[in-house]
Subunit: 349 residues, 2 copies
DNA sequence: CTGTGAATTTATAACGATATAAATCAGGTT
DNA sequence: AACCTGATTTATATCGTTATAAATTCACAG
């Protein structure tokens, strides 16, 4: 008669008690709903006594604010979205990132939504969609390009985000990046230091910002010592393992093959190792390898090879923290983080 | 004066146009908001002409329903939550699961929220929290136990869920499981068939349902042929790789060591391989290994070993579809899926 | 006793959608 | 022409919260 309805909700068993709302607390304390809201929301100009009473009652009845209502009223979603890339097929890059992110969001009001970026669709699609529908308060993504369209779009709309990797746009924005220059420089030096004479490197795809950092590090080290070198042709870190394997395999059958490889990822490193093994050679001894690793996998792979560690879980954590700061309005210049590599070289016998 | 406010929202640039709502469409078409809502919602008793007009206008202005408002009014969240386990350190189990889930949710109204289950906290915590705050319409989780507390709780509250793995509770409920009996049976037969005489197996932790399936498959195969066997003592699939490695290493130095290993996961398989290599033996030749794999990793590991494939992406996809069906109220008996293993045995030379 | 201003509290109106019930319209009967 | 019936459309109330503005309380000066 009064139009009351249960909103079509599914009753959750017989012990289902009416969910406590601000109104419940208001009735119990004899205060107005507004007052309760402000008391819990930390608004000024609420008598200390009142605030404490409200907080006590809220605690007692296990009140938790209704996210949907808050979101509808305030426009804040309390959600941050990770745009998941269709790459990273085999290993746990995303898992580590997610682990770090959830850790950073622990005990905050924020939830993590994971949304895929489907192959073939423009990279800006998920970002557009999220902004247009206000589906999140902030966005996290990886595989940043020097003039990344997503970054441009987000900057234009003044929408909070943190990306994994830098850009070359003039505008400062938050990011977490790994020092890929140091990685490839140190990796290359290591190979040179162990007497390798012709170095090859499997590069990231050209379009990513870190392509240049990796190249620069490699070239610097190579030039300093004058050894000969090549960039693995026709394949990159996004190539299928089979393609990388084939390329390396073929190259090893040609004149003047590389005797040292720098690999920017675990899959490529395994592919290179497999190709070397399949030629009857011993990876790490006959042909040197230094790989970037992002997990504990290479502790278990035999023979052991030199690796340089990029801590993705930490990156996720940093990105989470930076994003929260960005949402809170902190200066982006303070939210630019560069992770240092950790060298794990096998003891030389 | 009329109390209108912008809800504290951040303006998104100068091109920020008022976000289209039902009201916008109502004004453009001259219909009532209610009619528009019902036309778009597929309600019956709407004139075909009206419906088409509304849909056309909605399309034109790019209307998308406000999730928060729908959620507040209907109590449906359009969210499904994946409870992420703190295990699965190295490899991409969760990534694959998430990939499958997002694929299943593609073009549905549902979003995927990932929430961690922090170590040390009771496994029921995340489930309780989600149900209590109606934070999702359905839940997905893995590592199911025979008398799983989460399953009990969810069944009690009649809350939609799908778990990875079965239970031994009498009540039927949706699940996606892998045929671990076949896995270990076939793995064991393979070792026996290649002449191994003393088999060892690294078991899942006792508390999981699939412990029993794995054990049963192993024991069946072993009994049929009468070879001797052992269960790796003191370690299981959740042990650190280092511990597994140490155990195997030690065992190989004792009298009557195993000459064949069944490994239920990629990490344990690598650990076993590493231990064998470190003893100067050749994995796969001197000591047989059959491992369950959940990624393409073992295509790249040398020497190649026999594997049996569990398709986790497919499992995620199945779980997503089953969960949507469960939310729609389908009979749980129709939502019990058993995945078949795929044998990838290395060609014998 | 009254007026003043600061400190608190409260009433009201939204946010955008949908469930319910009531109202309108068309077409055919009698 | 008045009446009924079924097909459509619409008005109203509500989900739980918060922004705004108005109202109340209280201590104290005049």
């Amino acid at each position: 008669m009064d139009g009351t309805d249960r909103g079509g909700r599914r009753e959750t068993g017989d012990d289902a008690v009416a969910k406590p709302t601000l109104r419940t607390i208001a009735e119990l304390t004899g205060l107005a709903v507004t007052t309760v809201s402000r008391a819990l929301g930390g608004a000024p100009q609420i008598a200390l006594e009142t605030r404490q009473k409200v907080q006590r009652v809220a605690e007692e009845i296990g009140y938790l604010p209704d996210r949907a209502a808050q979101r509808l009223r305030t426009g804040r979603t309390n959600v941050i979205t990770l745009v998941l890339d269709p790459h990273e097929e085999i290993l746990g890059f995303s898992t580590s990132l997610i682990r770090g992110l959830t850790e950073a969001l622990r005990n905050t009001a924020y939830h993590l939504v994971v949304t895929p970026h489907f192959a073939n669709a423009p990279s800006t699609d998920p970002v557009r969609h999220i902004m247009r529908n206000r589906m999140a308060d902030g966005i996290v993504f990886s595989r940043t390009e020097p003039f990344d369209e997503r970054v441009k779009l987000l900057l234009e709309h003044d929408f909070p985000f943190v990306c994994h990797g830098r850009t070359e746009l003039g505008t400062p924005h938050p990011y977490v990046d790994f020092d890929n220059y140091s990685f490839s420089y140190e990796a290359t030096k290591r190979l040179i230091g162990s007497g390798r004479k012709r170095l090859a490197i499997i590069m990231p795809p050209r379009r990513f910002t870190f392509f240049q950092h990796v190249q620069y590090g490699f070239m610097s080290a190579v030039r300093e010592s004058g050894v000969s070198f090549e960039l693995a042709e026709g394949v990159d870190l996004d190539s299928s393992a089979a393609d990388i394997q084939a390329q390396v395999f073929q190259r090893l059958g040609e004149p003047n093959p590389p005797d040292g490889y720098v690999c920017g990822g675990e899959v490529s490193a395994l592919a290179v190792m497999a190709a070397i093994s399949d030629r009857g050679l011993n990876p790490g001894r006959d042909i040197g390898i230094v790989a970037k690793r992002t997990s504990g996998l290479f502790n278990l792979v035999r023979p052991q090879i030199d690796t340089i560690y990029e801590d993705i879980t930490d990156a996720g954590w940093q990105m989470g923290r930076a994003l929260l700061a960005a949402i809170a309005g902190r200066d982006p210049n303070e939210l630019q983080i560069l992770q240092k590599p950790e060298l794990n070289f096998v003891a030389t016998t």
